[in-house]
Point group: C2
């Protein structure tokens, strides 16, 4: 049996009691480190050892995507857990993994948890008034994708809020000439996480080009930082105000951004608790 | 301090370790029974007693909406927990409660959990390809609201999936002549939960009237039953097929329905695991 166990948003303690009890039955426990870069590996290890005295195996992206036969081989004969940040199905990778287990006749048990897709309601904006979620990638000098602007437009035209998930770059290959010349494929850049101010700035730049009015300097938005953790920080203001926020005001990753649609009275009261 | 603690979707064990540890610090623990009608009160009580030896206080809708001063009075001087099914902010009621606590200067800690809004990804449909969530109310002879049909249309026109939350009727007053004549306001009908087949049927009826093609007999959809519980059941087929499913095929409440938009290859593979 394969257990896909969601870890929620904060620290190790955000695992559910059901998740902990499933781990108890497992001979191997993997912690996915690709999507769980921000999770304290040590913190999780401590919690699991405290309860079960089990060793946690770090599973990086390659292991989950390419080497998952190893995990599935074990799951065919014994109980194995794969711990993932948020909810297990928030990443497409896990649907693939789920299917491969099913094809091999391996039982799969999914243990759900919170993810940014529902916890964003902590802003006070009502979940059923959100439209399609969009992803905002880092611009480069030569690559400035803008398809998300049109999706934002559809939401805004229908008075809906828009959750913007912001780019994360991990395991980027080093472009240093020395590394390329030496044929080194194991040198990676420091992970990069897009902040809410950068996302707001990119939206304003696209607005300049497109001019349809969906992301003007006066468009209201919420910077949503480290949701569900003890250092959670929200900041409600215009895209211009958010784009100008200092890094130390919002703090470290992960950030998301919500562009608001039509805001109802109760929503506004909640938003104003975190006005810039 | 007031703790708003999400219980997730399944049984008592879906509470997080953080939630359990917060309860440990509380002098009073309320379980909201309005939105948590399907949660086994006894099961939760057992879990909490097992860990902490605390009594669970049932808080019905009236207590949360009107009588919440009592809960807030306690929270002003001691730690109090309110346990709610799903994620604490999925119901508007809790935003109101949150605001009232804030206005009184009471600290509020929110402990997130899974809700149908993210766990619906268990269908294999990708969350970032959903549009606005819609609510489908029970039709009566004289009341057939259809505003959700237009919202469905916006999603379908943009190739997006649509999560339909289905009506729940609890604490409906009895219309029996004897009760009305006796002025009895404390007699309630048995709770009613809309099933996926009824929702599919209502969508087909509105399609008949409107004829815009968003919910035809051939429109593909997924019946989503008791997500996150051990008896979870999914059924993928046309709206006509779902509308004709026997009650015992899908089992008891809660049901939701997803009307699919454009379906990608990996999504289709996942859906076909549960084909009717």
């Amino acid at each position: 049996m394969l257990f896909l166990i969601g870890l929620g948003l904060g620290g190790a303690e955000d695992i559910t009691v059901r998740g902990m009890r499933a781990i108890e039955t497992c001979t191997k426990v993997y912690l996915e480190s690709y999507t769980s870069i921000l999770k304290s590996y040590e913190e999780m290890q401590t919690l699991i050892e405290q309860f079960h005295g089990k060793e946690l195996i770090e599973a990086d992206r390659d292991l989950v995507e390419q080497g998952s036969d190893q995990i599935l081989d074990d799951a065919a004969t014994t109980n194995v857990a794969l711990l993932v940040v948020g909810d297990p199905f928030c990443a497409t990778t896990h649907a693939d993994f789920f299917l491969r287990a099913k094809e091999r006749g391996i039982g799969v048990s999914v243990i759900h948890n919170a993810s940014i897709m529902n916890a964003v309601a902590c802003t006070g904006l009502e979940l059923y008034r959100f439209g399609q979620t969009i992803s905002v990638p880092f611009f480069t000098d030569s690559w400035r994708p803008d398809s998300f602007y049109e999706k934002l437009g559809v939401n805004k035209a229908n008075k809906l809020h828009t959750l913007c998930l912001l780019d994360i770059k991990t395991k980027e290959r080093s472009y240093r000439l020395e590394d390329i010349m030496a044929g080194r494929t194991d040198v990676f850049l420091k992970p990069r996480y897009m902040t809410a101010p950068v996302a707001a700035q990119q939206l304003l730049e696209i607005e300049e080009e497109k001019g349809e009015g969906w992301a003007t300097p006066d468009t209201m938005a919420v910077a949503v930082c480290r949701v569900g953790t003890e250092t959670q920080k929200l900041a409600f203001g215009t895209l211009k105000q958010i784009s100008e926020l200092d890094e130390d005001v919002l703090g470290g990753p992960l950030h998301s951004l919500v562009v608001t649609g039509e805001v109802h009275e109760m929503e506004l009261k909640m938003l104003e608790l975190n006005k810039i």
